[in-house]
């Protein structure tokens, strides 16, 4: 009998290796998937995939998807879905395009206005979900259609009949905010490195990689911020609580409604950010932007370990989930497989990556 039980030491606890403690964190599980996928492509893909420029190449779509995926993960942890993300990208792209091109506003006004508009739509989504008690799946599904349709109508209106609104690049050229939302960062550094020969060059002497695409920086920044919020702030605690059991959370004094509405707003703003980045990058926006992105965002979150039932998951997991997804979609082009098999591979790799995650985690943490 242990009469010493008031002490912290507990004879009923086995010592745990560092690896076990590490793998116990849901976010780190997803790393297993990244490693597996990397190994697969190291073997099968053309070696250009893992040159600096190749890496930038698959990280760019991963970053855009990841920004959405992290927001979706936070919302899922909070117990809700947003199926209107993809349409929101198209819709806010239109808003931004109209503000920048048709209204000729500078970015310092156009971007906050776009964000405000997105936040308002997100709040509306959230308000309807909270007010009616309908599942967010069906409410945001309605907005998936509504926003997609509104984008088409709006585009035709503002472009004079076409489904594409152009001229964004020239409209924002020279704006002091443009480099923050488009193009490549650290250009000088890369040019210098190229001169030193550290970075590959084209024949013309220009570095093959002109810099780090800004969306990658946004992606990393957002992942860090989201992780900080989720793990280190009271709001993070509220998000987990709201998603874990909204009744219990409400009863314990968590302002569940406010939390959920804020999360819907956040998701919408993430969509707006992606819209701004892609619209400036592409110089145009069209009615099909963001098509199916809502599902990819949810996939990303789920690969990263989020539970569909809410209350569990991580932003870092979604970060790696986006990288896995980006790597698999782009990577197959680098291989010699017949491209007809693309979807079979995509599905197979996804399944393998998540199963691998799971096996590794169970093995290491000793769960049954």
């Amino acid at each position: 009998m242990n009469t010493d039980a008031t002490q912290m030491a507990d004879e009923r606890i086995k010592s745990e290796s560092f690896a076990t403690r590490l793998m116990r964190r849901p976010e780190l599980g997803a790393i297993g998937g990244v490693i597996l996928v990397t190994i697969f492509f190291l073997i099968t893909a053309d070696r250009t995939m893992f040159t600096l420029s190749g890496i930038m190449n698959f990280l760019t779509p991963a970053a855009q998807l990841g920004i959405l995926g992290i927001a979706a993960a936070m919302l899922m942890i909070g117990g809700e879905f947003d199926l209107s993300i993809g349409s929101m990208v198209a819709f806010t792209g239109l808003i931004f395009g109209v503000l920048a091109v048709n209204m000729e506003l500078p970015l310092i006004l156009a971007i906050p206005l776009t964000m405000a508009c997105a936040a308002a739509m997100g709040a509306l989504n959230g308000y309807i979900v909270i007010r009616t008690g309908l599942p967010s799946f069906i409410v945001t599904l309605a907005f998936l259609f509504i926003l997609r349709g509104a984008t088409l109508v709006g585009l035709k209106l503002f472009s004079g009949g076409s489904t594409q609104l152009r001229g964004v690049r020239s409209a924002v050229e020279g704006d002091f905010l443009t480099p923050i939302f488009s193009g490549d960062a650290f250009g000088g550094l890369f040019r210098w490195l190229a001169e030193l020969g550290v970075v590959e060059k084209f024949g013309s002497g220009m570095p093959k990689v002109p810099g780090i695409p800004v969306e990658i920086l946004w992606f990393i920044g957002f992942a860090l911020l989201a992780t900080y919020i989720l793990l280190k702030t009271p709001s993070g605690n509220w998000i987990f609580a709201s998603g874990g059991d909204s009744n219990a959370a409400e009863n314990s004094g968590v302002p569940v409604k406010r939390v959920k509405i804020s999360l819907f707003m956040l998701t919408a703003c993430a969509a707006a950010l992606v819209a701004v980045i892609t619209v400036i990058d592409a110089g145009s926006t069209d009615a099909r932007r963001g098509f199916m992105k809502e599902f990819e965002a949810i996939i990303t979150a789920v690969i990263g370990g989020c539970l569909l039932t809410g209350g569990y998951g991580s932003a870092i997991g979604a970060f790696f989930g986006a990288i896995i997804f980006g790597m698999v979609t782009i990577g197959l082009t680098y291989t010699n497989f017949d491209q007809d098999w693309f979807q079979v591979f995509l599905g197979g790799m996804l399944l393998l990556a998540v199963i691998f995650n799971n096996v590794i985690r169970k093995r290491v943490t000793g769960e049954r």
Binding site: P234, N237, W238, D245, A248, A249, N251, P255, G311, Y312
Partner: protein, 259 residues
Amino acid sequence: MSDPIIHMENIKKHFGNVIALNGVTFDVRAGECHCLLGDNGAGKSTFIKTMSGVHKPTEGTISFEGRELSFDSPRDAMEAGIATVFQDLAMIPLMSVTRNFFMGREPTKGWGPFKRFDTEKANATTMEEMRKMGINLRAPDQAVGTLSGGERQTVAIARAVHFGAKVLILDEPTSALGVRQTSNVLATIDRVRNQGIGVVFISHNVRHALAVGDRFTVLNRGQTLGTAKKGEIDASELQDMMAGGQEMAQLEGSLGGTV
């Protein structure tokens, strides 16, 4: 005696076509422990849920410190100084003990945008409060879902006691507790009462009620059966009232007074 902190007047609560409460009047004063007793399904939990802002009463008025008001959410009630241990505990199984403990009222450090959840302090507080109740946690970041029934209940009680400002409501807090933990909880009730906090204590155990209660109100089928002061009533009378006046099972004799 002092004025009541909360006074609930003629509370009715209907769920669709179910009448759960049919006119209950109840109050709790500072520094007293008011026991709410009654048969299963009498409406005790429903009643304290209206008191702590979870349900809105279908009819009836709530006065808090003399002013009539209605709580829009449990958060309102909490901010007014009411802490509750719900029968279903209101815990999130997937979250750690510490996170559950401080859910909705997280301690922070830093300032402005760098204000963050003070994990060390929260962990230390949690372990300490749990130890006071007689539970030694293995680790504060263990998920509540993996705790035993009694450990889980203790977390809920420790939380409510820690934050209880003016009124502490306990809905069958000792149901899953071991003997040591139970005696700790009863001692705690005694302690906070002496600090001037009003306690509402729901129990099916006559002995526990008599040990700490100052007044006893019995509910039956959604209505008040009456209120008695300590000393005015003895265990077997109380027990009969709690059973709703119906007969005990045949074993009664052989188990004599053991329930």
